[in-house]
Structure formats: C-alpha cells, structure tokens
Symmetry: C2
Subunit: 190 residues, 2 copies
DNA sequence: AAAATAGTTAACCGATCGGTCAATCTCTTA
DNA sequence: TAAGAGATTGACCGATCGGTTAACTATTTT
C-alpha cells in the first residue's frame, strides 16, 4: 500500500515536471497536482532533487519499455527493427502530450556533468546505445558500435527538430538517413 | 554610449544565462555578474523575458556568424563545406565553455510553442536550415531541402550527444553519417 | 552657477521558493 | 474502548523570486 502510494506520487509528479519543467515547478504545485501534501511528499523524498531522480528513473523505465515493445511490434527482421525505431518516434511525436525528451530537458536545467540529475540523463542515453548496439550486432553490421551511436545521434536530432519546428517530418528525415546509413553498414543484402 | 552599455549588459547576461540556465538565474545574479544595478537593467528591458530575448538574438547572431565563417575557413568546395559543418562542431565541443545549444536549452525551459522564447529558438533553427539548404543547392544535391533538413538533424543530434556522454566523438559520428548521406544525394562525382 | 536631465543605488514590495513542525486525524492492537 | 503508532494537514520558516520606488549623484544645458 505504501509502495503504491509512493509510486502514484512519482507517476503524477512525472506528468507535472514533464509538462512544466523542473525549476519552473515548485513543490507546492507538485503537492496540488498530486493531491499529496508537501509534508507527506517530504516523508518519501528528502529533497526535490531526490523526487526528480525518482521521476527520471520511472521515465527511463517507461520510455525504454515502450520503445522496445513498439519496435518489436512494428517489425520482424533485425534490419527492419533498426528502421522501426523511427516509426516509433513518429508515433511519439504525434501524441498530444509530446513535449520532447525529458532527459535532454533535465540536462539542460542541471548542466554540471557531476550533478546526479545530469548523470542519470547520460545513463539513459547509454542504455539506449546499448540496446541499439545489440540490434546492430544481430543485424550483422560491419561496425555495430559505430552504427549504434550514429543511429542514436539521428534519434536525438529528430527529437530536437520535432520540438523546434519540424514536427512529424523530423522522424521521417531521420528514418531516410538511417536507411542510407544501415545499407552502408551491411556487408550484403539482408 | 548608451547602445554600447546596453550591448555590454546583454553580452555579459548571455554568459550567465548560458552557464547557469534561465529559471535558475535570478535578476539579482544578473545584476551582480554584469555590474549593472537591477534598476538600470529594468530601464533597458521591461521584463526578464525581454532581456532573454535580446540575449537570444545576440546568441543567434554570434553563433551563425562563427559557424559560417569557420565553415568557409575549413573548406573549399561546396561538398567539403557540408562536411566542414561537423569539423566546426567538433571545435565547438572542445571549447572549455561549451555547454550545449542555448536554443535547445531555452526551448526546454520555455516549452509552449507560442512562447516568444520558444518561437525565437525555432527561428534560429530555421535560419540554419536555410543556410544548409543553400549549401546543398550549390553542391548540386538532388533534393537539397531534404538533405539540408537531414544534416540539421545530424547537427542537433551531435550537440545532444556531445552534452550527454559522447563529447567530441559525437561530431565524428555525425560527420561519418553526413558523408554517406551526401554521397547518396549527389548525382555523380564532385 | 542654477536648473534640468540622466543614471545609479539600496531598500523595499508581495509572491513564491524549498523545506519544517506542531497539531490533528485515522487506524491498529490490546 | 482506550492507548499508541502512522499518516496527513495547514501554517509557518528564512531566502529568493521578478519588479518598483524614492533618494541621490553626476552631467548637461542655460
């Protein structure tokens, strides 16, 4: 029961921070939006930073689970899975509540590399790189690590451009690039 | 004299906002760091938002001037210029004061599309796209607009990954992708 | 030299920041 | 049903937020 309450608090806090930003969201607003009093919040989390870290942990879990599942549902072969990344992205960009990558935004507000919030954002990208790397290896890429990093660059660039003017087109731009890139990394036909 | 004073204020405010973020930087800190009293600041700018908009205008001018000049200095042929974008990026990433793209950070803190700060960030990216587009046309790309957008996606992705763990490698990842991409868009040898 | 103008300053405004606390409320256990 | 334990609450803390005010200083104009 306690676990559930805490989880519910984190889940709602995620929505508020995602919509409104980190510094711009006060703990009073979190209390109001979650329906949990400040005193109760501070019983679960020592500081605002601790709450944000919990929020980011949940976001990492949710986002990666969603992306990996969606990739599997949208494609069959390893090569198709690499391209399906960008179909999933396009779906994300089309969602009403889309507001960009929460980790890019977190690292923009907490800039020091040794800040726990910044470090956790870096870790999220590393986990994505790991997953892409595995996909590239299975697909038989000649240099899987490099290809994975290049695809990650495409993904991050697409998110930024989706926020800053391009919308859904950003995902298609990135997918077209990925196609060329993947072909260049494949020894022969797939 | 008045113009100069105001410009100096904006120049110093830029450094502070870039280093410290927007919401996290109070007007008292701006006053202290610039050496200009709050009252004087508010004589030049009606609100903090107005000051930030002036800062972003200066940043846009500085950054594009620097990038375009550096591209010209680093390369000769149109095709080389498209690749030199990423050599310039790598130089930027290597600078001690590098803290990512100020406009990505601004749009992360001011998320509403109709917020003037967000809109100005979008405009900055549009101006970059225009320039890339011209380069692509001169280079004789088959679909210059599309290639320009793809290169812009690569640039933004590289910046994000430079901040979030990859450092200088991000520029090289993006450049390698750009090379493949450009070749695919060129009708024949250059 | 006197008056007007422009620029600067510290002190202050109400609101909100992250965080705390004594009091109350709810529920278990005997 | 009374005692005790946990959870919840609104009021409150000093500090800082964006922004304003009145007094002062220095310069220009006459």
């Amino acid at each position: 029961m306690q676990k559930t309450k805490r989880d519910e608090l984190v889940r709602k806090a995620l929505d508020t921070f995602y919509r409104n930003g980190f510094h711009a969201t006060g703990m009073d607003m979190i209390a109001k939006e979650t329906g949990v009093s400040k005193t109760s919040i501070y019983k679960h989390f020592r500081t605002k930073e601790d709450l944000i870290l919990a929020v980011l942990r949940l976001r990492d879990e949710n986002f990666r689970n969603w992306l990996f599942r969606r990739i599997d549902e949208l494609s069959d072969t390893p090569r198709e899975k690499l391209l399906a990344i960008f179909d999933a992205l396009e779906e994300w960009f089309a969602m009403r509540e889309f507001r960009g990558c929460m980790f890019i935004k977190a690292s923009a507000e907490y800039q020091e590399h040794d800040d726990p919030i910044h470090a956790q954002s870096t870790e999220h990208k590393r986990l994505l790189a790991d997953y892409f790397s595995k996909l590239c290896k299975v697909a038989g890429a000649t240099e899987p690590e490099q290809l994975a990093q290049q695809i990650l660059v495409l993904k991050e660039g697409a998110i930024v451009m989706a926020v800053l003017g391009r919308g859904l087109e950003a995902a298609r731009d990135a997918k077209n690039t990925a196609r060329v890139l993947i072909d260049a990394h494949m020894p022969a036909t797939d």
